[in-house]
């Protein structure tokens, strides 16, 4: 049973570029959340998707957007990249109504 799968594992982008990160949730899970983890910090909530809609959003600018597909997989898009966007981006999934989230291994984004 595959857990949460994220791609790519590493990515280097230039300031001003756009990036798309992908997440496949654990089998049976329908809710996907995205987190940003800067070096030395805990993960910060970006947004959550359920039934293909954004249900909640954290304190992130509109440059951060996302999408959920009918198969529950999800994408995180970041436009006009800034140096400060360099971080580990974690995807977490769960089955609605159940307990804790399962996290993927993340995508390490470096903006130069």
């Amino acid at each position: 049973d595959a857990g949460v799968t994220q791609s790519p594992t590493h990515l280097i982008k230039t300031r001003g570029q756009q990036v798309t990160l992908r997440c496949s949730p654990k089998s049976g899970h329908d809710t996907v959340s995205w987190y940003q983890q800067a070096l030395g910090q805990g993960p910060q909530f970006i947004f959550q998707y359920y039934e293909e809609e954004e249900r909640q959003r954290g304190n992130f600018p509109d440059r951060f957007s996302g999408h959920q597909f009918p198969n529950y997989s999800s994408e995180l898009n970041v436009n006009a990249l800034l140096l400060g966007d360099s971080a580990l981006y974690l995807c977490a999934s769960r089955r609605t109504g159940s307990g804790g989230y399962t996290f993927g291994s993340g995508t390490r984004l470096t903006v130069v």
Binding site: G42, P43, Q44, Q48, F103, G104, R108
Partner: protein
């Protein structure tokens, strides 16, 4: 403002020692408190606590929640080098998102 504070930020011990990690929180409409272990990238789930005073155990790890004083502790007995990791505390509330603390970095030396 909702917040989760973990202490200590860093801990260095020798194998066999017992450690206690602390997590305090200020969150409205608390639902549950979760502990995760993060070794390289993916945080792995340890415990979810919803009720005060009920200890959860898994091998050498145990955790308890105090909803009156708004804190939780994670105990690790007979530490091993494989316990070296960042331990994250997170709180969920009625909006379902998780608010994480900064984490405690534990290093266990032989």
């Amino acid at each position: 403002e909702d917040k989760v504070v973990q202490s200590p930020l860093s801990l260095v011990v020798h194998e066999g020692d017992t450690v206690t990690l602390n997590c305090s929180y200020e969150v409205t409409n608390f639902r549950s408190l979760l502990w995760y272990k993060q070794e390289k990238k993916a945080p792995t789930f340890l415990f979810m606590l919803t009720s005060s005073g009920i200890e959860k155990k898994s091998g050498r790890l145990s955790s308890i929640l105090d909803k009156k004083e708004l804190f939780s502790i994670l105990n690790i007995t007979a530490t091993q080098t494989g316990d070296s990791a960042i331990y994250l505390c997170a709180v969920s509330y009625n909006t379902d998102k998780l608010i994480f603390g900064t984490g405690t970095r534990l290093q266990v030396f032989p």
